[in-house]
Symmetry: C2
Subunit: 151 residues, 2 copies
Amino acid sequence: MTDPIIRFATIDDCQSIYDLILELAIYEKAEDQVKISVEDLKKDGFGDKPLFECIVAEISGKVIGFALFFTNYSTWKGPCLYLEDFAVFPEYRGKGVGKAIFNKLLDLAKKRKVGRFAWQVLDWNTSAIEFYNGYKADLDEEWVNCRINFK
Amino acid sequence: MTDPIIRFATIDDCQSIYDLILELAIYEKAEDQVKISVEDLKKDGFGDKPLFECIVAEISGKVIGFALFFTNYSTWKGPCLYLEDFAVFPEYRGKGVGKAIFNKLLDLAKKRKVGRFAWQVLDWNTSAIEFYNGYKADLDEEWVNCRINFK
């Protein structure tokens, strides 16, 4: 496999990004939780006030992986980079694509001098946890997510 | 005690907000983690591109509680409201101040039609968990926080 191109997403990538989001949600047993559409991604990420940024991995013109992230704020660390979603299509896994995407994110976090680069992982997703352990990430089960869902 | 005024914070509230952040960090046994300053709060929250919003509770001209939040993005739910930090000075607790602040946030979340209102709680903070259970929040320990701290 040739090395993927890692680049910022454009509005034309939204269908592929949506497909990857859905693919990951199915893996996470949460397909029914996905309430957004391709049009929402176009509007929310590529309009006047983008609510997220996105990088994609591309091989031979096909988007095969993505990471969707944004700047959030910690009252302890100041501006931080938060990785909301990150996936590679199954047939392209185990070939370093995820690592290429993740390294790009780490570089961005360092360049922007944020206080923290953060994300979440499901406690049963051992392959993802192993991947993140390779980066010496601090995994912490002391904080519990609280949510009131409207959608 | 008279009812507190619940209002959006101004730049002049940043010292009080900082004091509340530090107070809460001490309670959470993480005082050494607080790397921001009052000046950072002024710059990050009240400049050209605010990274957060903040509401405060005020009694007789004194800020006694706060909630710091921002819009984040869920690839499942779209734009969401995220509550980053929320505290009331100890001597004013148990008097409905936290509830007044939290109700204001819930109202905001509904008015803005976000997909989710979310935050985190420490698993040993039983009084906070009890408070959130009163709102029928969904508490979920399946997702683990991952962090690479730069500060």
